[in-house]
Chain length 350, copies 2
Amino acid sequence: MRRGGELERPAIAYETWGDLSPSRDNAVLLFTGLSPSAHASSSPEDPAPGWWEEMVGPSRPIDTGRYFVICINSLGSCFGSTGPATTDPTTGEPYRLSFPVLTLEDVASAGKALLDHLGVDRLDAVVGASMGGMTALVFAMQFSGSARSLLLISSAMRSRPFAIALRSLQREMIRRDPAWHDGNYPLGEGPVTGMRLARKLGMITYRSAKEWEQRFGRERVAEERQSGNPFALDFEIEAYLEAHARKFTGQYDANCYLYLSRAMDLFDVAEHGGTLAAGLATVDAERTMIIGVTSDYLFPVEQQRHLADELKSVGVTVDYQELDSIQGHDSFLVDMDRFRPTVQSFFSTD
Amino acid sequence: MRRGGELERPAIAYETWGDLSPSRDNAVLLFTGLSPSAHASSSPEDPAPGWWEEMVGPSRPIDTGRYFVICINSLGSCFGSTGPATTDPTTGEPYRLSFPVLTLEDVASAGKALLDHLGVDRLDAVVGASMGGMTALVFAMQFSGSARSLLLISSAMRSRPFAIALRSLQREMIRRDPAWHDGNYPLGEGPVTGMRLARKLGMITYRSAKEWEQRFGRERVAEERQSGNPFALDFEIEAYLEAHARKFTGQYDANCYLYLSRAMDLFDVAEHGGTLAAGLATVDAERTMIIGVTSDYLFPVEQQRHLADELKSVGVTVDYQELDSIQGHDSFLVDMDRFRPTVQSFFSTD
C-alpha cells in the first residue's frame, strides 16, 4: 500500500461485458465513484439495471458489441473487493480500522493487477467519473503505456479544501454516531443515523440549486405525511433527501465509506514528482477527453479546465467538453441526453 | 404569532448608539442574521467589539454621530429576547418546543413594537443582511411607511430548496444528537456535538471554495496536532472548522437555533398577497439598495438580482450593487474593503 502496510491476497470484484478480441486490444476499464459496485450494466448473469445502464451495453456509447468492458469494485469498497469490512486472513477478523491507509493510487494498482490477471497489457481506454476519474488519471500516470486513451468526467488533479471540508464533515457525522463504536459495530448494522446524515450532505453536494429550484421549488409534502413535529419533513426537498438517504444506508459499510472518502482528500497529482506537470508527464495516452459540468460545485469546471490545460502543457492531446447540465456533479449519471452523445463521440474517434 | 399561538409579555433585547434627533427622524434599525446578538458595535457600556464593529460607530459607514442606531436581538433568539430558552410566564418553565412556530414576520413585528416603545414612528433606514435582510424586507412590507429607506444585503424574497435542504440537515444533526433529548436538555448544556456539526456545515455554506483555496490550499496541520487517527484533523481546513465550531457551541441555545433556522425556510414574500409582486407592493421606501456577492452560493446573486427586479417592477427605486468579494455569504462581515464604501454610499445619498 502506498502509505505503508500490505494486504494479503486481496480480492478484487469485477464484472465484464462483451468479448476480448483475439489481439486483446479492445478492453475498456471503468473505475467507479465512491459508492457504486462493479455492476455498471445489466447482464444475463445479473439482469438488474447497472449504475451506468444507459451508457454501457450493445450499441450504447460504451458499446459492448465492440469493446470488452471491465468495471471493478474499488479496493476498500464493500461490494466484493477487499476492504475494511472483509476478513483479514492474518487475524481471521474483519480489518475495520486496522485496514491500512487507502489511496487512489492503491485503487488504481488493484485495477492493474486485474488487467494482468485478465491478460490485458494495454487498454483501449480507461474511463472514470468523480473519484473514478481521479483513479483513472493516476492509473494512466502510474502505468504509463497501459491505456491508449483516457476519458475523465467531473474529476480532479487534487482535492480542494472545500471538497475536503464537506467530506470531513460527512465522516464526522458517521464517527460521532454512538453506533459507530470506534469502527467496531456489528458488520451489516453500524451507524445508520450517521450514514443517513452523510448521505444527505452527499446528495446536496452532488446536485445543484438550480435543478432543485425547478424540480421542487417550495412544494410541501402532502398533509398526511406531515407529522405535526415542526422540525420534521415539511418541504418536498426534505422528503426527497430522506427517501434517498434511507435507500443508501444498509447498503454501504460505514468504515469503507470513511476510507474511500479520505482517499479522495489525500489525492494530489503533485505528490508524483513535486508538481502537477511532473505528475502528469508520465501520461502517454494518445488522446484524452475531459468532461466538466457547469453546475458542478463539488468538482467545478475550473478544475476540469485546469486539468485539461495541464495535460496539454505536457503534450497530451485533449478534447475538453463542458456540458450545461443542471444536475451538478451527478449529471453523468442522470443527464443522459447530454452525456450519451459526448461519450459516444469519444469512442467513435480513432 | 403569525402561525398561531401567542407570547405573554415578550422581552426584546436591544442596544442603541448615538442620539435620537429632536424630530425623531434619524433612527436606523438593524435586524441581524441567525446567530448574532444585539451587540453590533462596542459602546461605553460594553466595550467588547460588536459583530459589525467596523460598520457601526462614529464616522463609520453607519455613522452613530449622525444616526440613532438600534440593533435588536431577534425574537426567538437567546441573547436577551424571548425565545425557546426563556421562561414561559404562564407555566414558570422554559418554553422549549412549546414555543409557537416562529416566522420572520414575527421577528419584524417585534422590531415594530420596539420602535413604538422608543417613540420612533418612521425610521431613516431599516437594514439587514442574510436572515436580517429577509426580516428587514418583510418589516418594510408589513409596516408600510415605517422606513424611509431600505438596505438589504445577501438576502432573499423566499428560501430556495437548496438552502432549505442545508438548513434541514443542520437541524437534523442537532435533533439526532442524543443529548438533544427531544428539546428537553438542561439549558446551557444540550447537544454540543450536533451543534458543532451544524456549525461546521454553516461555515462551509457561509464562505466560498475560492477563498479556502487561497487561504488553506492543501496545507496540513502541524505534526504535533495530528493524533494518529486517520480520520482526525489532518488538513488545515479541518482544523479551522473545528476551531470555529467549538467557539460557537455553548454560546447558542440549540432550540433557538432550530426555531430561527426553520423561520428562514418558511419565509416567502408571496405569502403576502399570492405573488412576489403583490407582497412587495406595500413597500413604500423612497429608495432601496440591494447588495449581492458573486461568490455567495447560499443566497446567490441570482436571488439578489431577482429581488432588485421585482422591487423595480412595483415602482421602488433600487440601487443594485454586486460585489466581487470571495468570502461568500459572510462577505458583509469580513470584506470591509468592499462593504464599507458601498454601505457608506447608501447612507450619504439623500
